[in-house]
């Protein structure tokens, strides 16, 4: 691994990327309206329509107005997000939560995508390095004046350094 990150610039770039990812997953809502909007999108409507609570638009839906009112009451009572989640899950069952929790087996749902992504990323980097190292062992054809002239012409005409 050390060899992979020998270049300090690459290491810094990787750190910046990880920081950006960290920011992506740590930022959250602040004000009450935003919190309400955020929370009502974290639950499912329990009428069986399969829609997110905040988006349920069924005429005369027996569940969503009740659930939304409960949510407002819970927020007004100063409950934390986790307490609201627990309360809804206890009352309506685990399926009322629009996403898996971060406890027990549910945590696997969150970990697996990133684990697969990181494993695939690492695998691809190693594969590319392996293939490019393999290439270095093959003798390069000698550069002839004709080849050099052609390369120069390509650079001149395309305005790029050998692209395409």
């Amino acid at each position: 691994m050390k060899a992979m990150f020998r270049n300090r610039k690459s290491l810094k770039a990787l750190q910046a990327a990880l920081l950006a990812v960290g920011v992506c997953f740590s930022i959250g809502a602040t004000d009450a309206t935003a919190r309400y909007e955020k929370l009502n999108h974290q639950f499912m409507c329990s009428c069986g329509c399969g829609q997110v609570l905040g988006e349920c638009n069924h005429v005369g839906c027996p569940s969503s107005p009740v659930q939304l009112a409960e949510l407002k009451t819970d927020m007004a009572n100063g409950m934390t997000d986790q307490q609201i989640f627990d309360g809804f899950a206890a009352k309506y069952g685990a399926t009322v939560l629009a996403a898996p929790t971060t406890k027990g087996f549910d945590l696997v749902a969150w970990i697996a995508p990133f684990a697969v992504f990181l494993a695939a990323l690492l695998g691809t980097i190693l594969l590319v390095r392996h293939w490019s190292l393999g290439k270095k062992q093959v003798a390069e054809p000698a550069s002839t004046p004709e080849m050099t002239a052609i390369r120069e012409r390509i650079r001149r005409e395309t305005g790029s350094e050998g692209s395409y």
Binding site: E55, P100, S163
Partner: protein
């Protein structure tokens, strides 16, 4: 007509079975060089002709069902359940795919149509087409067996025939529903063809990469259909479901998106095989996976394994699909293991910073995205199996996991075209990245300084932050691709004396595949901008008495009427709303709520006013039973029209990519040079 249809399907099955059996025997005889009473070439040709006849038989069956729908033949259970006398003509046609049995018949018919075209074009490469035709026949046998025995569309109703049918699901009574399912199925079914070619080429140890060139048009056309199908579905959901959005990460939506992702990965990585002879095994498995995902999607949504608002056609055909998927997977693994030495590739990369590497990372991201969606779709089943209770995996999960992956993919969309094949120097990388980097940071600055949110809030909410990243990356990618067009166009302009626009046109004609691909990438960028706009959606809901007003964004809506209407198909309530902007009346909207008479199901008809900046999206929520007044919900959805515009550009770019490139000589004829050219410009080839 029911008897005729059933008989046609049985004949179709028999012909497909003959095609599979005779084709298989003929290919075996050819491969082993054995002698038989009939020459293997002649036997293979009879198999091919049987395959063509399958198309005739299945077309007759499809015609029989459509004829029965139009003639209100309610003795057929399917027609009784999915049509009624008052149903308008186009929707009677749509009834063909509104239920399980009919949609499987449509699947069979499209498969037969693809097979018909494939078998007619057999002279392109007789042996390869014989393999592909035989494999396709195997798939046809499965689907025809399903419609003959598991989900027969011509099953007769027991008891007294009712005077009228139950009618079509109201959600399907929308113009787009007449074209969205066929488009989606054309994409789904179409991937059977590249799969058949891929498996066939592996079975026969096809020399070289020509089979990829042969199947390229098939793959691209199929991909185009699937793209159109997916986005038409999005537009339908936006216009019909009435929740203000277009993508809800529903299992049916996910099922259509997964093969699109692997198909897109295949279209990219196959270029590595064509150009460098690399990734042969990878490509074969990508096309196998794409086909298997089309089957898995069908299994998930039709077998009732996952629930969905789109799953109109659930039944117990899951076992059939599970067994078939098992057989297909076993055949793929067996063939691969047997022939893997034929796929030995010359894996050599000169640099980590090269076009080849960018394709590898592109595949990595596309497949990770596919895995995330598959994982999210299957996790409820897995969770029920492991801990005994089903959990919901909805939009919050996908938004948190898939959006960062999507943004990384967008980043690669911009980086890829900037990297040359083989290797590049640090100097060239720096030069190529200057403009995109400037575009990126300028966009960030503009968004922060002049955007619709105060600077601090861009970082306080995930949605706003993602939107900021998406806008910045989009600007960067767009500038990267645009500079490719400008750079190439400038070279041609210099050589031919034509103006820049004509030169860019000539550039595109000389390498339609590359520049068509770039147009598709610009289409993707435009779509991303449209999707990012969702972070700024606003909505408000109000009960409106006559002349009451409500405001959303820059618009003020005034209720000027509340009416009722009815016809033979439905009763409707609708509100008439005058829309004002800056105090001036701009237009009128009429959101509607219908109740269909046959099914007694309600349906929203959303009123949408779309401009480049946003959509004003108005829903008639219902009537307050206490006051009798309409409840109106109004959304202001920014940049939605960009999504549809991006799709149009993708379609256009795909058509360009399908057009053969002009040869240098042809290009010279099309555009006679005004100045003597010393040497032919090196702008041909590559992707």
């Amino acid at each position: 007509m029911a008897t005729f249809g059933s008989l046609a399907l049985l004949i179709g099955l028999a012909l497909a079975a003959y095609n599979l059996f005779a084709g298989g025997v003929a290919l075996r005889l050819i491969a082993t060089g054995q002698q038989a009473a009939i020459s293997p070439e002649r036997l293979a040709d009879t198999a091919r002709r049987a395959g063509i006849a399958v198309f005739v038989a299945v077309t007759a069956a499809a015609f029989a069902l459509v004829f029965s729908v139009f003639n209100n033949d309610f003795s057929i259970t399917y027609i009784m359940e999915h049509s009624n006398r008052a149903l308008p003509g186009p929707y009677k046609f749509a009834a063909l795919w509104s239920g399980q049995e009919g949609s499987l018949l449509l699947w069979c018919w499209l498969l037969a149509t693809y097979g018909f075209v494939l078998r007619l074009r057999h002279k392109t490469d007789v042996k390869l087409y014989a393999y592909a035709g035989t494999i396709l026949a195997g798939i046809q046998v499965f689907f025809l067996a399903v419609v003959n025995f598991a989900a027969p569309p011509f099953a007769l109703l027991r008891g007294v025939m009712p005077a009228d049918g139950n009618g079509l699901n109201p959600l399907l009574q929308y113009p787009e529903m007449v074209i969205h399912p066929p488009m989606l199925y054309l994409g789904y079914v179409g991937f059977s063809v590249p799969f058949a070619f891929g498996l066939g080429a592996l079975m026969m140890r096809y020399p070289g990469e020509k089979w990829i060139k042969i199947t390229r048009v098939w793959t691209l056309v199929t991909w185009l259909f699937l793209t159109c199908g997916v986005f038409l579905g999005m537009h339908w959901a936006y216009a019909v479901l009435g929740w203000g959005g277009y993508w809800g990460w529903d299992p049916v939506e996910n099922a259509s998106f997964m093969p699109w992702l692997t198909g897109t990965a295949f279209l990219h990585s196959v270029m590595m095989q064509e150009k460098k002879g690399m990734m042969k095994s990878w490509n074969v498995w990508l096309i196998f996976s794409t086909f298997l995902l089309t089957l898995l999607g069908t299994l998930l949504t039709r077998a009732g394994l996952v629930s969905s608002v789109h799953a109109f056609a659930q039944s117990s055909i899951g076992t059939w699909f599970t067994v078939f998927m098992g057989i297909v997977l076993a055949v793929c693994i067996f063939t691969y293991v047997l022939q893997r030495d034929h796929l030995r590739s010359d894996h050599q990369l000169e640099s980590l910073v090269s076009r080849e590497s960018s394709f590898l990372f592109n595949n990595l991201v596309l497949l990770t995205a596919c895995f995330v969606i598959l994982w999210g779709t299957l996790f409820p089943i897995l969770s029920e199996y492991v801990q005994g209770n089903k959990v919901t995996v909805g939009a919050p999960f996908y938004n948190r996991v898939a959006i960062p992956i999507g943004l990384f993919l967008l980043f690669l969309t911009g980086v890829g075209p900037l990297l040359p094949w083989r290797a590049t120097s640090l100097k060239a990388v720096k030069r190529n990245f200057i403009v995109p980097s400037i575009a990126l940071w300028v966009t960030v600055a503009v968004c922060l300084l002049f955007g619709p949110r105060p600077v601090s809030t861009w970082f306080s909410e995930a949605g706003y932050f993602y939107a900021l990243v998406a806008f910045a990356l989009s600007a960067s990618v767009f500038s990267a691709i645009a500079s490719e067009f400008l750079r190439g166009g400038a070279v041609i302009a210099k050589q031919t004396g034509k103006n820049l626009l004509v030169s860019i046109y000539l550039l595109t004609r000389r390498n339609t595949r590359r520049y068509g691909g770039y147009l598709i990438h610009i289409g993707v960028v435009i779509i991303v901008i449209g999707l990012a706009g969702a972070a700024f959606n606003k909505n408000t809901e109000k009960e409106l008495a006559l002349h009451d007003k409500m405001s959303v964004g820059p618009y003020t809506l005034e209720c000027v009427g509340f009416n009722q209407d009815s016809n033979a198909n439905f009763n409707s309530d609708y509100a008439m709303l005058d829309v004002y902007q800056n105090g001036k009346k701009q237009f009128q909207m009429a959101p509607e709520k219908r109740v269909y008479l046959a099914s007694q199901q309600p349906q929203t008809m959303v009123a949408v006013h779309s401009v480049l900046s946003w959509d004003l999206y108005v829903v008639f929520e219902g009537i307050n039973p206490d006051t009798g007044q309409p409840i109106i919900k109004a959304f202001l959805n920014p940049l939605v029209s960009w999504i549809w515009a991006g799709v149009v550009l993708i379609v256009f770019g795909t058509f360009i990519a399908l057009v053969p490139s002009l040869t240098p000589a042809g290009a010279a004829v099309k555009a006679p040079v005004t100045r003597a050219i010393q040497a032919e410009p090196v702008l041909k080839g590559g992707d």
